[in-house]
């Protein structure tokens, strides 16, 4: 096992700048999710780590070893591909055993190891089949088995769940998390799904436009997003962002004035904040007309079963509010949105989070 380090890694494809100086350190035994929208450079970063692409500049280290110019096979890594990349003409057993066979492991040793990982992934009964005779979920398990059959320094996973149907994805998400905890291996997991990143990873690195936006544990990414992009990309439904202006008692949001305590107000003033960010669960619906409540009208009501998502149109834009499952409202009806500004974060004109929520790990209700 080993840590993984990217040092000023740059990647250009012709004139296209895909990675601009990526600096990233994954400590030993940690599960890192590389999260970002498509085209943000996360897959490129993974391929550079695997040795399938060469960086234009910069260095890559796996466990103290500079692997920047090494062939993939000399990097001591295992990789799971989005399309599983199984060897079509080999049986499942041969697929799993291939990394061992290449390394000259004896037949008996190979057999034992194949049986062991097949048991872990519950595919022991499929060993004689060929990949085309397997379902998507089974192929996924074979690909995972092939990766864990060795004891590599790091596991690389490139959106391994995105080819599965929604239900199977949930199951495999839990399974992969369990597997990685059991192996306690350094894992780099590329995904565009923020739920996967939050649920599975020890550390989340959010990328956009070829740059690392923030790297932190999932809870911190969620509660203390470094900037407007991270705030809106992580979380479902995403964080509400509204224009905000400072006044004597607090901030003016939409048409309402929301009182903010003096120390935070001073910080906001210093940072010249322009926007306020509110998680949907930190907002609540309230009778219109009360003090400190934002005035709006109901735009969409979406009952989810366990809760109701209410989209409220305010002066400065729409706001998603998580309401109780018994919420009843009619489109067009006038309604108020209440929130505690201690739960809000504030962005400056550069889109950076200038003032975070008051409480780090809990919510003020």
């Amino acid at each position: 096992m080993g840590s993984v380090v990217f040092k000023n890694v740059v990647k250009n494809f012709g004139a296209l700048n895909v990675l601009r100086s990526l600096d990233l350190t994954v400590p030993d035994h940690k599960f890192l999710a590389l999260l970002g929208p498509s085209g943000c450079g996360k897959t490129t970063a993974l391929r550079i780590l695997a040795g399938l692409d060469m960086p234009t500049a910069g260095k890559v280290f796996i466990g103290e070893r500079d692997v920047t110019r090494l062939q993939p096979r000399d990097r001591d890594i295992a990789m799971v591909f989005q399309s599983y990349a199984l060897y079509p003409q080999m049986t499942v057993a041969d697929n799993i055993g291939y990394p061992l066979w290449i390394r000259g492991t004896s037949e008996a040793g190979r057999k034992a190891k194949i049986g062991e990982v097949a048991a872990i992934l519950e595919i022991g009964h499929l060993l004689d089949r060929r990949p085309r005779q397997l379902s998507g979920g089974q192929r996924q398990r074979v690909a995972l088995a092939r990766a864990i059959v060795r004891d590599p320094a790091a596991f690389l996973m490139d959106e391994p769940l995105s080819n599965l149907d929604a239900r199977l994805r949930l199951t495999m998400r839990g399974e992969i998390k369990r597997l990685c905890q059991r192996l306690s291996a350094t894992t780099i997991y590329v995904t565009h799904d923020q739920v996967e990143a939050l649920t599975m990873a020890d550390l989340v690195a959010v990328m956009q436009g070829g740059e690392l936006q923030q790297m932190a544990p999932p809870i911190e990414i969620y509660d203390r997003p470094a900037n407007r992009f991270v705030a809106t990309f992580v979380g479902n439904p995403p964080m509400n962002i509204l224009p905000a202006a400072l006044c004597e008692q607090g901030v003016t949001v939409a048409t309402g004035i929301v009182p903010v305590d003096q120390t935070r107000l001073a910080a906001c003033r210093l940072a010249e904040i322009v926007e306020i960010g509110l998680r949907p669960e930190d907002c609540s619906v309230a009778p219109p007309g009360e003090a400190g409540v934002l005035q709006g009208e109901i735009y969409v009501v979406e009952p989810m079963g366990n809760e109701t998502l209410v989209n409220v149109r305010l002066e400065g834009g729409n706001v998603q509010v998580r309401a109780g499952r018994d919420f009843r409202g009619v489109v067009g009806e006038s309604i108020g949105v209440a929130f505690d500004p201690a739960n809000a974060c504030f962005f400056n004109s550069g889109g950076l989070t200038a003032v975070h929520r008051v409480n780090n790990n809990g919510r003020v209700k």
């Binding site: 062939q71 591909f81 399309s83 990349a85 060897y87 003409q89 291939y98 290449i102 390394r103 085309r132």
Partner: protein
């Protein structure tokens, strides 16, 4: 319910013109097939059971022509030369074509031009190719002789020497038809999925192992089909030999097609030639069936 007058407005399916239309539309094509394919085939089969003199059938001999083939030393030699020619040419073409296709799979500057240039021999008229090769091989003023003389050697005997003539013929065929092999195999290689190859590199395989464990097994069906198609085609080679050597010197390059041609048109033994070609036709048909079975197996996977 609809009244009678309303019903008359609708056309029913599967009745009247609707029923006859498919047959009417098939009729012209069917007539042509019967006229130019089925009748000549039947006529050829009939001819193969007859003896001819001065171009006219004189007697029904049953299967005599077929049986006689197997005691005809010239036929057996022609068959042997053909088999040698097909085996050598097709294996060289397969190996060369595969190597070129693997090379042309890489993307680099000028690759498109290279791929186009490599296909050119295939699109030149075979007779023209043969004429050019005769100019290269000619012992008096040929290019090989000129080259040899320039470097201090003497005349180069290609078409006058049995072994050299045969090798020269194989070389011509390889030159002309490697591009077809290359084209089919390149298309096959390009249609292979990308990820297994990257997975193999990560799993630890070097270039040779990637080829032996992935590329070759994955390409086997395409390779098999290409070889069978080319084999069928090579059995019928005629024009190049006709222009280059006419089967000589002696019988060194006399392929089955040349022998059959001589039998039919030089010696006017129409019935015997028909039996010969029907026999070869059956051999090629068997090869074609194996090709189709291979194709089916590819589809199934």
């Amino acid at each position: 319910m609809r009244t009678g007058t309303q019903a008359r407005k609708y056309r029913l399916q599967g009745a009247g013109l609707d029923l006859a239309l498919p047959y009417l539309m098939l009729a012209p094509g069917l007539t042509i097939v019967l006229g130019v394919l089925v009748y000549p085939l039947w006529d050829g089969l009939r001819a193969s059971t007859r003896a001819y003199r001065y171009g006219s059938p004189v007697a029904d001999v049953g299967l005599q022509n077929y049986l006689h083939l197997w005691s005809d030393a010239q036929f057996l030699n022609a068959l042997w030369v053909t088999v040698k020619f097909v085996a050598l040419s097709v294996s060289f073409e397969a190996v060369l074509g595969f190597a070129l296709a693997l090379f042309c799979l890489h993307e680099f500057r000028g690759i498109r031009l290279l791929r186009t240039v490599l296909i050119i021999p295939m699109v030149i008229t075979p007779v023209v190719v043969a004429i050019v090769f005769r100019l290269i091989y000619a012992s008096d003023a040929g290019m090989l002789t000129a080259l040899s003389k320039a470097t201090g050697g003497g005349e180069v005997q290609i078409l006058g020497n049995p072994l050299n003539a045969f090798i020269g013929l194989v070389a011509l065929d390889v030159w002309e038809w490697t591009p077809l092999m290359f084209l089919i195999l390149l298309a096959g290689l390009q249609s292979l999925p990308h990820e297994p190859f990257e997975a193999a590199r990560v799993d630890g395989a070097g270039a040779w192992r990637v080829f032996a464990d992935l590329t070759f097994p994955m390409m086997r069906p395409v390779l098999a089909v290409a070889i069978v198609l080319r084999t069928i085609d090579a059995f019928g080679t005629f024009d190049q030999v006709f222009v280059l050597t006419r089967g000589g010197p002696g019988e060194a390059t006399r392929l089955i097609s040349i022998y059959g041609y001589d039998t039919a048109f030089k010696f006017q033994q129409t019935g015997y030639a028909a039996a010969l070609f029907v026999t070869i036709g059956l051999v090629v048909l068997a090869l074609a069936f194996s090709a189709i079975r291979l194709l089916r197996r590819v589809d199934a996977s």
